[in-house]
Symmetry: C2
Subunit: 332 residues, 2 copies
């Protein structure tokens, strides 16, 4: 295992220290917990958004804590759900009295632990709502998941529901727009290499020299199949075919695109993917309102990428373009 | 070679297409050239900044074209200087009559080709000035370089000189502040793995399973030495010692920090580096005004990182915090 770390058991603690030291204008540590909150939390008069999950997906989710996106991110051990008490502390720390929306990726552990935390907070009289993101069209049911997995499309939920919350909307309205994003976002990825969880010390799986896995999950869960590495245009066309079969776009529709790197993929290659995504959408007379290309939800040092498409309407488009100011996503 | 590409000879062309398709609000292609310019170039009443170099360092430099940073980036073949005619076309495309500053990283090919382009533009009556960035303290002279190499500290030059140009300052003043940044920025890096130039098809060098190279250049040029992988705290302390021996900070000084990933390093690990950087600076009573952590100047899929420190004064600090709006760097 070749990693720039001190000790596997310290990586989450030390990473959280490093995040807070880097971005004190945005975030602070919730003392005694693996929880990052906005510097000015709780923000008066605003529904709060809490997300999180296992660590190793940075900048998800701590990088998206700030104005116009999340109020808190809870960091579990690497690729492991945070415990209910940690999520509960996050909810209490950010609630301004207007309620808290939990944005949960669809993994059994996350869903269960965020649910328990919600019950604990509700017992304190805090209004809590939740949404579960399941944008990965690759497979139904998977290691650690019943139904579809939540992957990089989650970033659009943070952005759009976060912008809605900034308008002063109530909890039900923020939840509704988050549900709308989830209903309209689809993703699928592929990987060229595995990654190594520090505590495990060795890669979670192996791939042959010229072999890739299509539809792989962000923790290395199996995808649809393995195949020989093809050209970026062929691979992108295949992923887009699966996404578009599920999302069903019509000529004239408008979308947002996220080409997400899994951690070790050069930006050069992500732009090659983006080129083909735009060609396919252009051929289908689908308009692209906004494109994001970069590392938004990673899997440590895994090489590979995912494509997410979000079908927009007037409301989600306006919220997508609203200002945001967080460590990993700034929009004027 | 496991890469998400079509063909090695197409990567730069297709990448540039992918960049322009992703960010039409920021950049456009200079028709017929491997040159990215601001959508609204030339910007009236403003000195223009042109940078560039070999491709493979994305988001450098095309990702920094936009308001408050560069007016144009010229993309050479992977790890290869752009030719003079390409740089010349960039200069002509962005000059508003107020002159053009070339920001050149100190590699013999870049310096020579940007110089020739400057002469061609001057023969047309365009005012051209240049600065040469040589922030890498690792080694004097290197493969392709006489003197010190220019690496990630260049991003601070783009940011601060770009902000100065937005104020309407003249060419001499923009050049002066760029020179001030260069005089006050120092960097050093290390690598855990090599990277593969697509046209070469195999890694540029090899490292043993537990071996790293200290002071490695962004094209894989040799560093100071190889050693067994140490802890992040030890490695960071070593790099900081070399940087601080050269930069000579005093108690009470204020700096900006850039912890730059080389392409395949998880953000988690960069934050661990950042934690130790801040501890060392805090112990020396040096104040950190701003911290950047992420992939700013990469080496394809190389694993590793560099640390850059910029000593600030009132002018450079104000310009560092000025608004910027580019594909890879946005600041409200």
């Amino acid at each position: 295992m070749k990693k720039v770390i001190n000790a596997p058991e310290q990586v989450v603690e030390e990473m959280l220290q490093g995040i807070v030291l880097a971005h004190p204008q945005y975030v602070r540590r919730l003392e005694g917990f693996d929880v990052i909150v906005r510097t000015n939390a709780p923000v008066a008069g605003k529904v709060a958004l809490v997300s999180g999950g296992g660590s190793g997906h940075e900048p998800s989710h701590g990088g998206f804590v700030g104005k116009g996106m999340l109020d808190s991110a809870v960091a579990g051990a690497v690729f492991t759900s945070p415990t209910p008490d940690q999520v509960y502390e996050a909810i209490k720390a950010v609630d301004s009295g207007k309620g808290v929306l939990l944005v949960i990726k669809n993994y059994t552990g996350d869903v269960m632990n965020f649910d328990m935390a919600a019950e604990m907070a509700e017992a304190d009289g805090i209004k809590v709502a939740k949404v579960i993101v399941n944008d990965d069209v690759a497979v139904e049911n998977s290691t650690w998941t019943t139904g579809r997995r939540g992957i990089a499309g989650t970033v659009f939920v943070h952005k759009i529901a976060g912008a809605k919350a900034e308008t002063g909307a109530d909890l039900e309205a923020v939840q509704q727009v988050a549900e709308k994003v989830i209903a309209n976002v689809r993703s699928m990825g592929m990987a060229l290499t595995p990654c190594t969880v520090p505590a495990a010390g060795k890669p979670g799986f192996t791939l042959a020299e010229n072999e890739v896995e299509i539809g792989l999950g962000i923790h290395g869960e199996p995808g649809t199949h393995r195949e020989e590495l093809r050209s970026v245009d062929e691979t992108t066309a295949h992923l887009m075919e699966k996404i578009l079969a599920d999302l069903k776009l019509a000529s004239g529709d408008e979308v947002a695109v996220l080409v997400n790197g899994l951690g070790a993929t050069p930006l050069m290659e992500l732009y090659l993917v983006n080129r083909k995504v735009h060609q396919i959408l252009s051929d289908a007379s689908v308009k692209v309102a906004k494109t994001l290309v970069g590392n938004y939800m990673t899997s440590l040092e895994m090489a590979g990428f995912s494509i997410s498409l979000l079908k927009l309407d007037a409301e989600t488009k306006e919220l997508l373009f609203a200002a945001a100011d967080t460590p990993a996503f700034v929009q004027a």
